[in-house]
Amino acid sequence: MKEQYQQYFDQHGQQDMWRKEALVSFGSLGIPDTSQEDWRYTDFRVLKRHVFPVAMQKKSIDLNQFCLPSCDATRLVFVDGFFKPELSDDLPVGLQVVPSVFQDTDHLRDGIEALNVALCTAALDVVLSASVEKAIHCLFISASPDVGNYTQSRLVLAEGVHAEVVDMHIGMPNVRSFVNHQSHVKLGRNAVLQHYSLQYLQNKALYRHLMTVTQQEKSQFFSHAIGLGAAMARTDIVVELQGEEASCTLNGLYLTQSRQHMDYHTTVHHRVPNCESHEYYKGILMDRSRAVFNGKVVVHPYAQKTEAHQQNRNLLLSKKSEIDTKPELEIYADDVSCSHGATVGQIDDNQLFYLRSRGLSEEQAKKILTFSFAAELLNHMTDPVLQEHARQRLLQILPGDELSSELQEMS
């Protein structure tokens, strides 16, 4: 496997030292397998059988074929891992697109990350010293079959800067591709970031997103992760609370169908006192799909007065779906307020009967109940346009007739 990527490497004269090192690491780390605790339920062995090289042909794309949210934002478009300036808005001050932003090869976690560092084709580098009015929308389109999309982004927010950044991953139907993205966030004092990670890939895509966040004093990080697509998806979010009174909120919603597999691993490190973390993930599982949630909170020694709360709720709509949920708390300080919980349930028979006794068909009643389960998290999304867009996507996936449009305004 390494040899095949090496071949690609040699052909394209990749000279950067760190890329070569990363490729060597890839050789030694390999694709993670289920014997590793962190990858116990998610088997990416397909990456051992198939090579996903960088796209050779630049594909032209008509954005109108996709149902995109109409936001007043700075839109940056990446196709098959390459930046498309002709489809993108002008880059405002503080933003640039470079070949790579992440060149640290000493602390690679796994082979997938190593591959990203070795092969990265485009990276968005955002260094903001002042707040920007418009949100930054990064649209990653996976268009060609059997290629890897190796992209990165770095978001550095200086003291007091507010920003909204959206990563949206979409793709062409029936394209088997590998989306390997990583993003690294650094928040200065009092900085506030609303981050959206919207995974709306098509049914055959493979997806891995690795995100690291470090937060300084009184900074606030809000993560909204929506996962509706891909055949197999894995998201890792690692937050380091390094300054006092920093807070992070991790919200997530996943919906899986047919044989989809979706995995969310989050880790929050409370390294200093007086920080807060709130995590709320909800999942809806249909057919023979499977999801994994592993939320870990580590309260390090001296991180007193920590407040950490975590919830994972799941709705199983079929007998053959499976959720593996594991909330983890590791507490090494004694004056903290922490909670965690996980629930797995089905549609409530009494609620179903109540709706049916008022004339709604069983299918409609189930759709309404399922949607209301998800709506709670959608309502946490602070961007109304993205919220509405996510809602529509969700309603399209849920079986049953169309619900009347007032559902949105009334819910």
């Binding site: 109540y354 049916r356 008022r358 004339g359 209301s372």
Partner: protein, 275 residues
Amino acid sequence: MKLGSYWLLVLKVRLDDGFKLYQKVQVLMLEIKNLHVEVDGKKILKGIDMHVRAGEVHAIMGPNGSGKSTLSHVLSGRPGYEITQGSVVYKGKDLLAMSTEEKACEGVFLAFQYPVEIPGVNNAYFLRESLNAIRRHRQQPEVDAMDFMALMKEKLEIIAIKKDLMRRGVNEGFSGGEKKRNEIFQMAMLEPYLAILDETDSGLDIDALKAVAHGVNQLRQPDRSMIMVTHYQRLLDYIIPDVVHVLADGKIQLSGDKDLAKELESRGYDWVSAA
């Protein structure tokens, strides 16, 4: 001659009125024949016979465990009951063969003893979906948002329920009285032909009871029948029934007019069993 035709006309009007009344009395809304029901192999109902005509209000009273709730659950189609014998005919159709939603669409309404909370599903939205599902079934045009709001406003006044409750999730955080009032409000909106009120008085204080009873009385009309299932006579002080049935040991032991309820109240249910 002039006078004679006047009296003829009077006679005709009287006859027409009488015929209408006769028709009304004759229209059978619900006919229960020899109904036997089991739950987990245990016989609960052991041969119920009942006729409810259009416009009538029937009260079914009985001690705990007599089968009152089972009867209302079976009529509304709640799962978990096995009908071993008998038939229920509603407006000429086999009620027991209908699904829960079909019953609702055909005009059967159950006011729940314990209305279910559904957080996240907006009350007004849910009611509009229901109303339109029923209207679609009856091949009537759907109600748009504007007309729905107007209709809702009209019915809210009848039932005297707070408008802002409609913006909340279905029964979400409602008090006991608000939940029961919401049931009657839904009934007002969905305009059923047959309403089954299951222990509508339970858990209500006297003011809430009066308010709910007032709402129900407003909804009495010649083409709508009601079956009230209740343990206590006090509900019947406010909603005067046409017929009172006393259910005990899975059978209707006695039927009579509203005075039967009073007698029952003073003598207790033991009197029925003894008789």
